[in-house]
Symmetry: none
């Protein structure tokens, strides 16, 4: 749905919408049992909920497209992920809770190992441990560049974030990572005047940093990529006319929600705290986005049992979630992460929406096969928000 | 999917993709039995394959749109058939294996019957037999036009192809066929300067041709339509990063594949030879398009039994097709041709995709009703290629 249309149809109401995103929810069957994670796990509460809900499979970006976390969530928030793009540098910066401003250009940095001729021998500097890399980051913070501020922030192992802050910096800057070894890092190049200025500053930074790192055995070089401004996403609360809160443990998802204009509430303790926080702030918001990470983490690890376990752990919270009494309760995922693939995948994702206006369907359990029978069909994840708005009585009629 | 996105996501792999197109695959139930051709035929091998595949119904162009062979195939190759158009003249020329060049404008020709006043009395010249019409074509080959080359090629009965070859010829030229009798053929008119030049040459050709045909009783006139340049399709191999081969018996499908940049391998002997050729050239290609015509031919003839028989004949080759060991095997159709309609139709088309990443589904047989239950849903045929790429491990992740 075009966001302008959403804005036109949105009408005030006192209803509450609750979206629970089980990260990497969808899976694939194990050949031994022919059952997926959802089909193997004991998810009694979700199954009970399905029989009173509308059900389907969401396609995050398009058939065959495996989404990163950014596009997967943007789609669930109603943004076309092919239209709205969040750069790697921005995601990395939000992922460490760095508050980006409008004049910032963020980049993802990697420490690498250079030989005597300056050629890369290891693109990840032997995955140098965070204890060491964070000290190198501190050393790089001493670098000064003319007319702008810089921030260097450690992430994990060989990864760090570089932020350039200054008026008129462009972000159309090429990567300095040649993507293979045996060659030196590339110079950054800008696509327009503003980005040429950024590239020049970036190249100065790299020269100074290489000086500071020259004594290191492993991490004596660096590469930078994913240069990006803070994206100009239309405000989620303005578009849909809802006061929106995000309940996420991991910084990247809080960051994504903030980019959309939601209020990220602190809840480092996970589900019990996420639910508690919703109760406390019930009157302050109309829309609550709850992020649940363990399903994706287990999937990425290729740990089928752990993913089943993560699903069961979530299932145990379902009664508390329904007890919150939201007018619309949705449970879905940003993408599939089948343990069998140990990676994100393109497979459509189970989804349910529960409200007093939910039409009864044919699905008996919350799993891939039963959701494929659902009365919502296989549909784009960008339609989730319009559905939520309708079930919440927050959309007026279209046309006379 | 936009082809630019496909190009960005495509990554190298050593996997093989096999697409079998059963022309006019979809059908309609006979009122006597309430069973379609696929439901009536004994297709044990396809049915077995379905239970291990992802399944759905493809919509070739859009709900309600009955596609010709061009759009139906273009969609399966990932081209939006509403964006990419292959002119009638080009299809007709490729259909007789005429190799069009970049300076060619092709048109479809019809012999017609004119009365003494030059008015059309029969738009198809009594479907004059090929033995006669091909001699008339030879006669027209003697025509010379200033500054360009011309080619006149027989097709079948009253149909022929005219190709004008010369630099700077436009193809925005109106038809000379008034679409009804009792009026003379129309003069060709050009929409721009280059096409006005073409139109002038076309009108000269018609005058000279009418002179040469004036003694004929039936085929004493002609009309021309579908003026078209060879289309500038983005290359299929470049877009998807696959070396692509086409295995088709009929020239039109070989021509379509060649227009997309595939290599058409000779296989006049049909399925046994098509399979043999794939084995021989296995290492040379990553993508194989196999075209099977008998289903459409029987459907167009309105012969329900013959279509069932054609489906069974294809089914018998399925074990050999799976034995090829492609990483991704897809079986689908370019459109429906229900025997009950004796024509192409708009009905969505059964489709299956088999790979080690195929999610188990609910469909038990390869037919219209069971594919409607499939976990791919009812989806645009243009999504077939992205799906194939994903299952083949040939697409990288979208977004961070």
């Amino acid at each position: 749905m075009k966001l302008e249309l959403a804005r036109k149809l949105a009408q005030p109401a006192s209803t509450k919408i609750l979206l629970c995103v089980l990260d990497g929810l969808g899976g694939l069957a194990r050949p031994e049992t022919l059952r997926s994670e959802l089909e193997s796990a004991d998810t009694t509460n979700l199954d009970k909920l399905v029989t009173r809900s509308e059900v389907g499979l969401t396609v995050p970006v398009g058939h065959g497209i495996t989404p990163g976390s950014g596009p997967g969530h943007l789609a669930l928030f109603g943004y076309d992920p092919l239209e709205f793009d969040i750069g790697r540098g921005v995601l990395e910066a939000t992922g460490i809770d760095f508050e980006l401003g409008p004049n910032d250009v963020a980049a993802r940095g990697n420490f690498c190992t250079l030989d005597a001729e300056g050629k890369i021998t290891d693109r990840r500097a032997g995955r140098v441990p965070t204890e060491i890399s964070s000290k190198l980051v501190e050393r790089m913070r001493t670098i000064k560049l003319d007319g702008i501020e810089i921030f260097v922030e450690p992430v994990k192992d060989h990864r760090f974030v570089l932020v350039l802050r200054g008026a008129g910096l462009g972000d159309d800057v090429t990567t300095t990572d040649p993507q293979h070894t045996g060659v030196p890092p590339l110079p950054a190049e800008g696509g327009d005047d503003a980005s040429k200025r950024t590239a020049k500053l970036v190249n100065e930074f790299v020269v100074k940093a290489h000086d500071l790192l020259s004594g290191e055995a492993q991490a004596n070089g660096l590469t930078l990529r994913g240069f990006a401004h803070y994206p100009h996403l239309p405000s989620f609360p303005d578009t849909w006319g809802v006061r929106a809160a995000a309940l996420a443990v991991y910084p990247m998802y809080r960051g994504l929600a903030r980019i959309a204009g939601m209020t990220a509430l602190p809840c480092p303790g996970g589900m019990p705290e996420q639910i508690e926080r919703i109760k406390e702030r019930w009157d302050d918001f109309d829309y609550f986005f709850v992020h649940y990470k363990p399903t994706d983490a287990a999937g990425e690890d290729g740990d089928f049992e752990a993913k089943c376990h993560a699903l069961q752990e979530f299932d145990a919270f379902v009664p508390q979630l329904t007890d919150l009494g939201a007018d619309v309760l949705m449970i879905g995922g940003d993408h599939s992460t089948p343990a069998l693939m140990a990676a994100h995948s393109w497979h459509p994702v189970p989804f349910l929406i529960n409200s007093k206006f939910a039409r009864e369907g044919n699905s008996l359990r919350f799993d891939e096969q039963e959701c494929a029978k659902g009365n919502l069909g296989v549909f784009p994840a960008t339609e989730v928000m319009p559905l939520a708005m309708a079930h919440a009585g927050r959309f007026t009629k279209y046309g006379a």
